[in-house]
């Protein structure tokens, strides 16, 4: 036991990778799902344990060295409250959505490809967990590519339902690769300047370079900031921060339902995590924001994301796409939170990572049920479903309230901290944008809700409520999203820890 516990940081990444490989070979028929389910459940247990361990540590960090090679020569995993939280998010959502995926995927993906699907599924989760846990900038790139490549394929698997999944996947491949390349270029520049790939080590080695700033002979000035610029753009793209969100809506819309849910609730969250990590740990907030004013760029982008994303969401007729655009807006909230760089802001960011993953995941799952039962997710498909699928649609509506940020839903907690952070910084206009964003969310959510409850169905097909295996995960996510809105002590605690941790390392 102690061995496992000691090696948790490695196990949490390696397990899905290994089982994923196995799944691709032996995971035919139903076995693939069982393997994925078992793995993700184990991952969830591990990430919970890891979080407990981290919070138990005095300095709130758990270091792990791959193969016991010391950093900066080997790959070091460093777990702190921030990435422990993100790990929890990824593994929790991974587990719950896997639970849901069985019937949904079986109805959307050809039976012969199920083993590949679940293998890719596990690879994707591997990549996401790896990005989160690694302390090495280059390793991060590798894992980014693992998750991205598997995601592209997963999106493309929606082709049997809609051929557009292929074009969406191709777009995603092109743009995602550019983003990854940019990140890699950035890492390369930094390596040039510092000769290191370990994030903590780079940060340390950057200090003399920063110190030379403004003196007669600045060292590597242009190299470093060019590297930063590439990294920032690359990660913005992975994060789908406006205006680099172009890949997201179609990828979400045409992917199989479970994939949409997984992507929406974890992929962008991990992107956000990577961005936070680069800014706060690697670059140092004093330099990134204080000197380079990255925060201004981020605030502009995230403000625009909130407004434009919500506005575009209002105009969608496909509810999946509507949620995708809504995600763009929600990513704006997350980016805005850490751009403010105060305790409430980072808290808001982390809480929203968590809350939005639950809420949006739950809503996509509910849509998946609609897809499963009705066969489409256009607004017209949802007409009058309030009577036919009362539980599913109730869950969807509750999730919608969370997106709006109605009190006693988790979305409200995020918004509360975010607006507080804006006001603490004296950024009244940003606070206003956040609130206006809520109103726009009201509009797009209410369009759907009205359709659900007041729409008149033309076809009188007899739609039954979804099977329990789909309903339960949906309710778990939506229920959790409500629960953390009523009692936010857990989320505010871990997010507060993460914020403290990040701000403490401020140089």
């Amino acid at each position: 036991m102690e061995l496992i516990r000691h090696n948790l940081p490695a196990l949490i990444v390696v397990t899905p990778l290994v089982i994923g490989l196995l799944t691709s070979i032996i995971g035919r028929r139903g076995l693939g799902w069982w393997m994925a389910m078992g793995t993700t459940a184990a991952g969830l247990a591990m990430s919970v344990q890891l979080l407990v361990d981290v919070l138990a540590q005095g300095d709130r960090t758990v270091e792990y060295l791959m193969g016991n090679w010391p950093v900066p020569f080997g790959i070091g995993y460093s777990v702190d409250p921030l990435n422990a939280t993100v790990l929890l998010i990824v593994s929790l959502l991974g587990a719950v959505i896997t639970l849901y995926a069985r019937k949904s995927v079986a109805s959307e993906v050809p039976a012969g490809k199920l083993n590949f699907f679940y293998a890719l599924w596990l690879f994707c989760i591997t990549g996401l967990l790896g990005i989160t846990i690694t302390g090495d900038a280059f390793n991060l790139y590798v894992l980014l590519e693992i998750s991205s490549l598997s995601t592209y394929t997963l999106v493309a698997m929606g082709k049997d339902r809609n051929r557009r999944a292929l074009t969406a996947a191709v777009n995603y491949v092109v743009l995602g690769s550019i983003g990854a390349c940019f990140y890699l270029v950035g890492v390369a520049y930094l390596y040039m300047a510092t000769g290191s790939l370990n994030i903590a080590d780079i940060a340390e080695r950057l200090q003399p370079i920063y110190a030379s700033w403004g003196t007669e002979a600045p060292i590597y000035q242009k190299t470093v900031i060019t590297g930063f610029a590439f990294m920032a753009v690359g990660l913005s793209l992975k994060l789908a921060l406006f205006p680099l969100h172009g890949w997201l809506p179609n990828a979400y819309t045409y992917a199989p339902s479970s994939v949409s849910a997984l992507l929406a609730s974890t992929a962008t969250k991990v992107g956000a995590y990577a961005f936070i990590r680069v800014i706060f740990t690697l670059m140092g907030v004093g330099f990134a924001f204080g000197r380079l004013h990255t925060d201004v760029a981020l605030m502009v982008c995230s403000g625009a994301a909130i407004l434009v994303g919500s506005w575009l969401a209002i105009r969608q007729t496909n509810v999946k796409k509507l949620l995708a655009y809504s995600s763009i807006a929600q990513i704006g909230y997350i980016a805005l939170g850490f751009a403010l760089a105060n305790k409430d802001g980072i808290t808001a960011s982390v809480i929203h990572l968590f809350n939005h993953a639950l809420t949006k995941g739950g809503m996509f799952l509910a849509l998946g049920i609609v897809m499963y039962r009705v066969g489409g997710t256009r607004l017209s498909d949802l007409r009058g479903l309030g009577r036919k699928l009362p539980i599913t649609m109730g869950a969807f509506t509750a999730g919608g309230l969370g997106l709006i940020g109605v009190p006693l839903t988790s979305g409200f907690i995020s918004k509360w901290y975010l607006v507080s952070a804006c006001l603490e910084q004296g950024r009244y206009e940003l606070a206003a944008i956040v609130l206006v964003g809520s109103v726009l969310a009201l509009v797009y959510v209410w369009r759907v809700v009205e359709t659900i409850y007041f729409g008149k169905r033309e076809d009188e097909v007899n739609v039954r409520e979804a099977p329990a295996s789909m309903l339960v995960p949906t309710l778990i996510l939506v229920g959790a999203s409500i629960y953390f809105g009523v009692d936010s002590s857990f989320t505010t605690h871990i997010a507060g820890e993460a914020a403290d941790f990040l701000l403490k390392v401020k140089p």
């Binding site: 109605v406 009190p407 606070a431 809520s438 936010s488």
Partner: protein, 510 residues
């Protein structure tokens, strides 16, 4: 014997239990209605049970849970909240009775949903009434909006949906963009070692006193916060955010009667009084002259809404605009910022609720018995429905403020409030404006209520109507409206509970 705290908790909890019971008993209408009435009675008993404790000045406070660190859902029963809670829960009883008569007679659909939403709205109303901090108030303010939305759109028609959109749009937009903004701003100001704001809890005398005295906060900011709050409380229907109220008239009449004469709109003006007294502080506002603009805005609303009301042919629309006008009476009284005017505002919550619910009941009674919605169709109806139209007349007199109806009493306190303000140094322009508004609005009120009474009692029935005989509405409806009309009269002669509570509010202010 239960403690006041438990009683207050029950007042919040019983409607929720009622909601569950009603939702589950949807298949047996009689049982469902029994649950509705029982819940109403028990809830009122719980609230009324708090009255002695409040009158003794006992501290009744409790917290449900801490939603965020330092931001709990906490409650405290104080006289002002008591007034609102009592009115809302008391009038729920006749309204339940009325609903039974109305919904059955009109064969409305989805009655279970209808009856289930009521207790939620009531629980929200009680939550608003007993809220101890601005966060709790905001939370229940929002739940009230959401729980009443299904009631407003009950009919499910395109028209109902459009109106529902306006209802939700205005109420949520204002509350999110303005009220939440203000709540958060105050919250942020209350943090730190030397906070500009004492706390987010409701505090007698307001939370800005120390901050202003020690220059930690600019009076301009306080004024801006007040503005945000006033327009963030869209339920007070201060122009120009009043449109939701006429839109909500698409709902069945019991909803219009109860929610848009009592629970929802009174929640709005109650919040206005509450934040003025317990967040901004009457003394502070007066000292820095922050409330004057509101006086004029409310005055303008009173007049303009009355003028619009005079030109509405739809009876419920006319009543809706009358409500807008009457709500601004409360707001204007609050903005006068004297102890007596706050008392007037508090009392008018009661006075207007009794009168207006009677008027709506009568409108619904006419709709049920005669299927008429327009004022111009009411010729001679007083002879066929004497009880209904007599109750309507009493309600109308209360609106005009003529004795012997309770509306007169609040007018009395309001004018005394003006006088009290007149004793303050300064020009008397504000006071004169208020007096002129009161006079003009009395006139306008008369001008749009009396024609209805005249039509009902003095004009002959039209030939068309002669062919369709009908009598009074079903008995539950008539009982309910006689009860509220009786209250309207009774409270002119005997209004001790309300005046005692209002008096306590006055003492808290001064």
């Amino acid at each position: 014997m239960i403690t006041p705290e438990q009683s207050a908790m029950l007042a919040l909890g019983v409607p929720v239990i009622g909601f569950v019971l009603v939702a589950m008993s949807g298949r047996v209408p009689n049982l469902r209605e029994t649950f509705t009435l029982l819940t109403a009675l028990v809830t009122f008993a719980c609230v009324a049970g708090l009255y002695p404790a409040v009158m003794r000045g006992e501290e009744v406070r409790f917290a449900l849970l801490e939603v965020m660190p330092g931001v709990p859902l906490s409650f405290r029963v104080e006289p002002l909240g008591m007034v609102y809670a009592l009115v809302a829960t008391l009038l729920w009883i006749p309204n339940s009775l009325y609903s039974i008569g109305y919904m059955r007679a009109n064969h409305e659909k989805n009655q279970t949903r209808f009856y289930a939403c009521y207790p939620l709205a009531i629980a929200s109303a009680v939550g608003i009434a007993f809220a101890d901090n601005i966060f709790t108030m905001f939370v229940f303010y929002e739940t009230l909006t959401l729980s009443t939305f299904p009631l407003v759109t009950h009919k499910g028609t395109t028209d109902a949906m459009r109106s529902g959109r306006v209802y939700l749009g205005i109420l949520l937009t204002t509350s999110v963009c303005f009220q939440l903004f203000a709540v958060l701003w105050i919250y942020v100001l209350s943090m730190g070692d030397a906070p500009a704001v004492e706390s987010i809890n409701f505090t007698v005398g307001g939370v800005f006193r120390d901050g202003l005295a020690s220059n930690r906060i600019d009076p301009g900011i306080v004024g801006l916060l007040f503005f945000l709050y006033i327009y963030g409380i869209g339920k007070a229907a201060l122009m120009p955010v009043h449109r939701w109220l006429p839109a909500a008239m698409v709902a069945p009449t019991p909803v219009s009667a109860f929610l848009h004469a009592v629970a929802v709109v009174k929640a709005g003006v109650f919040c206005v009084i509450k934040v003025t007294v317990y967040v901004f502080g009457v003394g502070t506002m007066q000292l820095y002259g922050l409330g004057n603009w509101l006086l004029y805005m409310a005055g303008a609303t009173i007049i303009v809404a009355s003028l619009i009301a005079a030109f509405q042919d739809n009876l419920k629309k006319r009543l809706a605009y009358s409500t807008i006008s009457q709500l601004s009476y409360v707001v204007m009284a609050t903005a006068l910022l004297t102890p007596l005017s706050i008392m007037a505002a508090t009392f008018h919550i009661v006075a207007h609720a009794f009168g207006k619910i009677t008027l709506f009941f009568a409108a619904g009674s006419v709709y049920t018995a005669a299927h008429k919605t327009q004022v111009s169709q009411l010729d001679g109806i007083g002879r066929r429905m004497p009880a209904t139209m007599a109750a309507f007349t009493i309600g109308a007199l209360s609106m005009i403020g003529v004795p012997p109806a309770v509306g007169f009493i609040s007018k009395w306190y309001l004018i005394r409030g003006v006088m009290e303000r007149g004793e303050l140094p300064g020009t008397h322009l504000d006071e004169i404006f208020v007096l002129v508004v009161i006079a003009a609005s009395t006139l306008l009120n008369a001008s749009y209520f009396l024609p209805i009474i005249y039509r009902a009692f003095f004009k002959p029935l039209s030939d068309e109507d002669q062919k369709h005989p009908h009598g009074e509405a079903p008995m539950p409806i008539v009982y309910a409206l006689c009860f509220t009309a009786g209250l309207t009269l009774l409270f002119f002669f005997w209004n001790k509970p309300a005046t005692d509570l209002a008096e306590m509010v006055r003492r808290a202010v001064s």
